[in-house]
C-alpha cells in the first residue's frame, strides 16, 4: 500500500474511526477499528465515508453558520468550492467537484467544525492504545478488537501488524471483509485472525458485478481457500439483505450449500438492509445509488433466518442489523 509507512517499527494506516462497545462485530463486547478504502462499490453501502482510500472532506450543514461566517468562500479555500445561492437562503453550498482538493488544512479553518476530514493516519500503537481502554470488557465478555472497513485487505501490512500486536497483547481478534483482494493480501492478514466475518453478497457473478462492481469468482475462491488454509479460524458468513437484490431463498440456499461443507464456518447471519448511512452520502457529496429501495420486512427476514437455522440444526436466533 502506498499510504503505509515502509518503517517496520511503526507501520501506519488510514483509520476512519474507532468505535467502542460494539456487540455485533464478533464475539463479546468489542472495539471496531474502521479502515479507509474499499475495493467494492456496493450500491447499498451504509459507510460511504469508508469507500475512498484517502482522507476526504465532509460537510455538515447543521453545524454551519452560513452567511454569518463565510470563511470558506475566501482563500485558501479553492475558488468556487463553496458558495451561496442568491435569493434562496443563508446556507453554504458545496461544489464537490471543486472542493475535492480540500484537506486537513482547510477543514481546520472551519470555526464550527462543519467541515472535517474523514480518515487519519495512525500507528499500530496509537490504535491499540485506544482499543485497550476497554480490555476489562473484553475479558468479561470474550470480546476483543475487530477490524472493519472499507476493506481490511486494502491495507494488509497495517492490518496484519495491528492484529499481530493485538494478539501479542492478549486480545481476541476479528475482521470483517468481503475478500475482494489478491490471496497474497489475505495470507498476510489471516494468520492473526481469530474470527473472520465475511460477506456473501450475491450468488450470480453478473448480478454480483452489477451491484458491487466486480464478479464474485475470486471472492468465492478466497473464501474457500481461507476455510481450508486456516482450519482453526472461525468463520461467520453474512449477507446484507436487500429486497429486490438478494433477499431471496435461492441466494440463501446457495450460500448455505457453499459454507456448510466447511465445519469452521460456524454461523451465517443476515443483516437486514437499513438506510442509516444515507445522511453520510450527503455530507460527502457522494451519489447514493439505492435511493428507492426499502428495508426488508420482518416476515421475509424471519423466513430466511428459519432456513439458516434449519441448516445449522437449531431453532431461532436474533441476527444483527446491517452494518
Amino acid at each position: 500500500m502506498k499510504n503505509q509507512s515502509s518503517s517496520k517499527s511503526a507501520p501506519t494506516g488510514i483509520v476512519l474511526n474507532i468505535q467502542r462497545y460494539c456487540s455485533h462485530d464478533g464475539p463479546g463486547i468489542r472495539t471496531t477499528v474502521f479502515l479507509k478504502g474499499c475495493s467494492l462499490r456496493c450500491k447499498w453501502c451504509a459507510n460511504p465515508e469508508s469507500i475512498r482510500k484517502k482522507p476526504e472532506l465532509s460537510y455538515d450543514p447543521k453545524k454551519c453558520t452560513g452567511r454569518k461566517c463565510g470563511l470558506c468562500l475566501k482563500p485558501p479555500f479553492p475558488e468556487g468550492a463553496f458558495y451561496f445561492v442568491e435569493g434562496s437562503d443563508d446556507n453554504v453550498r458545496v461544489n464537490w467537484d471543486l472542493a475535492v482538493d480540500c484537506d486537513e488544512t482547510h477543514a481546520s479553518l472551519c470555526p464550527t467544525g462543519a467541515l472535517e476530514m474523514f480518515g487519519k493516519v495512525m500507528t499500530v500503537d496509537e490504535v491499540l492504545d485506544e482499543v485497550e481502554k476497554d480490555s476489562s470488557f473484553y475479558r468479561s465478555t470474550g470480546g476483543g478488537m475487530t477490524i472493519s472497513g472499507g476493506e481490511v485487505m486494502l491495507q494488509p501490512d497495517f492490518a496484519a501488524a495491528l492484529l499481530k500486536e493485538a494478539h501479542d497483547r492478549g486480545l481476541n481478534t476479528a475482521i470483517e471483509t468481503a475478500c475482494n483482494a489478491p490471496w497474497a493480501n489475505l495470507e498476510k492478514v489471516l494468520p492473526h485472525v481469530d474470527t473472520m466475518l465475511h460477506d456473501h453478497k450475491l450468488t450470480i457473478p453478473e448480478r454480483h458485478k452489477k451491484w458491487t462492481g466486480v464478479e464474485n469468482k475470486r471472492i468465492l475462491e478466497n473464501f474457500k481457500r481461507a476455510y481450508e488454509t486456516f482450519p482453526d479460524t472461525e468463520f461467520i458468513a453474512r449477507t446484507p439483505l436487500i429486497p429486490g437484490v438478494n433477499a431471496d431463498e435461492e441466494h440463501i440456499r446457495a450460500v448455505l450449500a457453499f459454507i456448510r461443507p466447511h465445519k469452521n464456518v460456524i454461523d451465517y447471519e443476515l443483516l437486514p438492509y437499513h438506510r442509516f448511512g444515507l445522511g453520510k452520502y450527503e455530507s460527502l457529496g457522494v451519489v447514493y445509488e439505492l435511493d428507492d429501495y426499502k428495508t426488508p420486512s420482518d416476515e421475509v427476514v424471519e423466513r430466511l433466518r428459519a432456513i439458516i437455522d434449519e441448516a445449522f440444526g437449531r431453532s431461532g436466533q436474533t441476527a444483527p442489523a446491517q452494518k
Binding site: S39, R52, S88, D89, V214, V287
Partner: protein, 385 residues
C-alpha cells in the same frame, strides 16, 4: 491557435433531453460553413476514455452528408454517459479492485492525439463545473446549457426546458381530466429540485388550483382553505402542482419530508439538508396529498410525472434553440472565446465565462412576472406573501 482549419469535437453530458440532434446539427452545420471538421464523442467522454468499448470507434465523424440526413427531432446520435466526470472514472484495477481514478490528463492527451483543439459540451449544472475544471487544466471549451428544470442561472432558457414544459402541461391536462372524472384532488409532482420554473409555468399553462414551488415555502393549511373555496358541487375536483423540491413553512409539516439524498447528486443542491429535502421521486406528491387530505373533506391522490417528461418529441422552440446554441458555440470559438457557456439573454446569444456560470441557481424571484400572472389567474402559490 489557427482558426482557419480546425478540428473540433462535441459531446453530451449526463441526463437525457429530447432533441439533442438539433444541437449537434447546429454545431456541425456552422462548423462546416467555417471549413472545420467536427467529430462527436460517444457517451460523454467514454468514446475517448474507454475506446475498447467501441469497436467501430469512439468518435463519430459528423460530416455534412451525415448531418443532412439527421433528424433534428431525434434523441441524439452520440449517446450519453451516466456520469461525465473524467476526474473520477470508476474502474477495476489490475488487482481486481474497484477504484475511481483521475483520467482528466488522459482525456486531454487523447484530445490532443486526435488533433481536436476545442470541445463543445452540452451539459447541465454539474457538467458545467466539471468542464470548468477541465478548462482550468487546459481544455479549450464552449458549453451549451441543458436543463429540464431551467435552473442554470446564466441563461434565460436552457435547452430541453421548453420540451419538458410542453410535456408537463400535456400530462397535467390528463391528470386534471382524471381528477375530474374521479371527483378528487390530484396532487401532481413535477421535476424541480431547487427551482420551480417547470411547476409554475406548467401550472399557469393548465390554470392549476395551486402550485407549490421551492422558492415559496407553503402552508398546507392555507392550501386547504383555498381548495375548500375552489371546490363546489359544480366543480368537485382540483389540481395541485407540486415541484419535487417544494418546502413547507413549519417544522411539523416538514416532518413529511425526510433527509435528502438526491441533493447530493448535484453540487448545486448539496448542503441544505436541514430544511430542503427530497427523498425520492414521488415523495413530495405523497406528502402533500396525504397531509392535505387530513385537512379537507375531499379525497386527494398523488401522481408523479418524474422521468416521463424526459422523453418525447422536442418542441419547435427547443429545436430552434438547439440549432442556435450549436451554431452559437461555433461562433464563440470562431471569435476566439474559450471557457465560456453560450447563453440566451433575449434577444441575444451571449457568451458567459464558466467561472460565472457555475454555482448559481436560476430560481423564481418573488417579484417575477410569472408569480404575478399566476396570482392574476387565481392560482394559489402555497401562502400569501
Amino acid at each position: 491557435m489557427n482558426i482557419d482549419r480546425r478540428r473540433i469535437a462535441i459531446n453530451v453530458g449526463a441526463g437525457f433531453v429530447p432533441g439533442m440532434n438539433a444541437v449537434i446539427m447546429g454545431t456541425a452545420l456552422a462548423a462546416a460553413k467555417q471549413g472545420w471538421e467536427v467529430v462527436g464523442i460517444r457517451d460523454g467522454f467514454e468514446g475517448l476514455l474507454q475506446q475498447d468499448r467501441y469497436p467501430d470507434g469512439g468518435l463519430v465523424p459528423l460530416s455534412p452528408q451525415l448531418i443532412e440526413n439527421l433528424d433534428p427531432a431525434g434523441g441524439g446520435i452520440l449517446g450519453q454517459s451516466a456520469r461525465i466526470d473524467p476526474f473520477q472514472v470508476r474502474t477495476v484495477n489490475e488487482d481486481g479492485m474497484v477504484e475511481e481514478v483521475d483520467m482528466s490528463g488522459d482525456l486531454l492527451a487523447r484530445l490532443k492525439a486526435e488533433h481536436i483543439d476545442a470541445l463543445i459540451s452540452v451539459v447541465g449544472g454539474r457538467g458545467l463545473s466539471i468542464l470548468y475544471k477541465l478548462h482550468r487544466k487546459g481544455l479549450n471549451t464552449v458549453c451549451i446549457p441543458r436543463s429540464i428544470e431551467n435552473d442554470i442561472a446564466a441563461t434565460m432558457v436552457s435547452f430541453g426546458f421548453n420540451t419538458a414544459l410542453s410535456v408537463t402541461i400535456e400530462m397535467l391536462d390528463k391528470a386534471r381530466q382524471a381528477a375530474q372524472s374521479a371527483r378528487k384532488i390530484g396532487v401532481v409532482e413535477v421535476l424541480g429540485a431547487q427551482s420551480g420554473w417547470l411547476a409554475l409555468q406548467a401550472g399557469i399553462g393548465v390554470c392549476a388550483d395551486a402550485v407549490l414551488i421551492p422558492e415559496i415555502p407553503c402552508d398546507l393549511r392555507a392550501v386547504a382553505v383555498r381548495m375548500k373555496e375552489k371546490i363546489s358541487p359544480r366543480r368537485p375536483y382540483g389540481l395541485v402542482v407540486v415541484a419535487e423540491g417544494a418546502k413547507f413553512v413549519d417544522k411539523q409539516q416538514s416532518k413529511a419530508q425526510k433527509p435528502s439524498l438526491k441533493d447530493s447528486l448535484s453540487p448545486l443542491a448539496t448542503g441544505d439538508a436541514s430544511d430542503h429535502v427530497i427523498q425520492r421521486s414521488g415523495q413530495m406528491a405523497e406528502a402533500v396529498a396525504e397531509r392535505l387530505q387530513l385537512l379537507i373533506a375531499e379525497e386527494t391522490y398523488p401522481l408523479v410525472l418524474g422521468p416521463w417528461v424526459r422523453g418525447g418529441v422536442p418542441t419547435a422552440v427547443d429545436r430552434q434553440l438547439g440549432l442556435a446554441y450549436g451554431a452559437g458555440a461555433v461562433r464563440a470559438l470562431n471569435a476566439g472565446k474559450n471557457g465560456v457557456m453560450v447563453a440566451f439573454v433575449p434577444p441575444d446569444i451571449k457568451f458567459v465565462p464558466l467561472a460565472e456560470a457555475i454555482n448559481k441557481v436560476r430560481t423564481v424571484p418573488l417579484d417575477s412576472e410569472f408569480i404575478e400572472i399566476a396570482r392574476s389567474l387565481g392560482i394559489f402559490l402555497g401562502r400569501e406573501i
